[in-house]
Amino acid sequence: MSQYYTATDHFVLVPAIMLALFGCAILLFDFWVFPEPKQRKWLLAFLALGEAFAGYGLWQQHTYIAGQGIAELTAFQGSLVVDGFSLFFNWMFIAAASIVALMSYRYLEVEGEHHGEYYSLILLAQCGMYFLASGADLITLFVGLELMALCFYIMVGFLRSDKRSNEAAMKYLLLGGFSSGFLAYGFSLLYGLSGSTKLSEIGVAIARRDPADPVLLLAMVTTTVGLLFKISAVPFHMWAPDAYEGAPTTVTAYLSVGSKAASIAFLLRIFLGPLASARAAWEPLLVFAAIASLTVGNLAAISQHNIKRLLAYSSISHAGYMLLGLVAGNETGIKGVAVYVLVYTFTNLGVFLVIVALRREGLVGDNIDDLAGLMHKSPGYALLMLICLLSLAGIPPTAGFIGKYYIFLSLIQAGRYVLAAAAALYVAVAIYYYFRIVRSMFMSDAEDAGAMETTFGVRVAAALTGLGTLGIGIFPEPFLRFAGQSLIR
């Protein structure tokens, strides 16, 4: 190994290599070795293998860092970094991608668009997420972001003959490209101001500058706009409802947890790293975006009839809660964001899983009325949905409560009582629309008696998300400790 590719570099890169390798392997095997539709389950096995190898690489990094007692491990002259933060998010990505893959198999069969590329795209998008969580350099982060986004553009439009899926992909692509433009422009100004693309050096340079420097402000505003687009915070949220509604449901699930979590990781890296010293300038922007997200997300969700669209607005409001944790800015707040993202991952996957399980020939299952009488038809899924919705609303003893709890606590510790009270009151609004779904499931009678067809994979995924949502709520201690390790110092 040369000085340009040391053993450490390799060690840090292993999970990404595995993801990319198996992603490409699936493409090739799909083409040459398993061309028969029935053989696609081998591709799923390949994906599982890829996740296992990536997980093994991650596990080695985890034990190495813990064993050496070091805070972080940098590679490629500081372009990539492995620390508690990146490990936390990458474990979450592995869980999310695996659960999504498990629930996808039958869904794609029903949709009639079952292609091997799908699994490859899941892995490649996850590879992009890996770089978003581990990147410490503008170039790495930008390329990681685009890798992830490009995979998602394709996945959102995966139902080629479905007009809504096309439209969602197009809107997501255009607005995603637009936001990337803003982000890149902000990055170019940051580079010009500091003379480096390394986050640490940019931080040092910015700390030395006058915070009121107009170029710095422009750089900060454009970067913030780009980042807010990615996490679908108001006023840059327009793409989310359309993309969520039009995309295949499994992709919506992946988009809402994977892309969201990775973007939050990215946002934390930027705001707590290079832009930390300019806090006074960006904090008002984030406060505004957070409150606007809570308001628009919660109020718009009330009138929705399509569950996917409703969840899109709810996810906008959740972005608002996550931003509030960052606004509080103390240790509890950052830990709170990490916990919130973790909780949200399991919970949202659970909700989407039920919608995916509903899908069968002749029933799309994304309308609230499609859930009517679910308690009678399949009580297990109704229960899972109930737990997950309670968690999204933040009612104890589910996981969502722990997440909200930390955000509120951090705001109160930071002395931002008005924000805390506003955030608390929006919980009541959120309950109203989440309980519309509950009402439909438990209190209406089924319109058709068709039973749900589920597969082993869907049942495993259901168990995982349900256990995650309840488990984090009742025994939060290990998860909290895990999230605590992720704090960026």
Binding site: G157, S161, Y185, Q304
Partner: protein
Amino acid sequence: MTTAVPLSWYLILSAILFGLGVAGFVFRRNIITVFMSIELMLNAVNLSFVAFSYQLRQTDGHIYTFFVMVVAAAEAAVGLAIILTVFKNRATLEIDEVSDLKN
């Protein structure tokens, strides 16, 4: 006698190009034109990177430019494919007519 063009000129040009891209994105109604506006924004970014990089006598900015170009190319490939399927299914490229997804 040669005097170098000052950095600020490049930056102003880049800002203008970027602004034109944003304006095009917001105001144009044809999907292809909107897409081209995004490319224009990315090229404004490239210009600013190269200008900074030249000024700082570094290569980092150049490298970033190459990556932006690659990303733009990949985005064009994916984007045009998506736009093509939209056109196939609807036979229109007017952005206002592609509006099945609404509240």
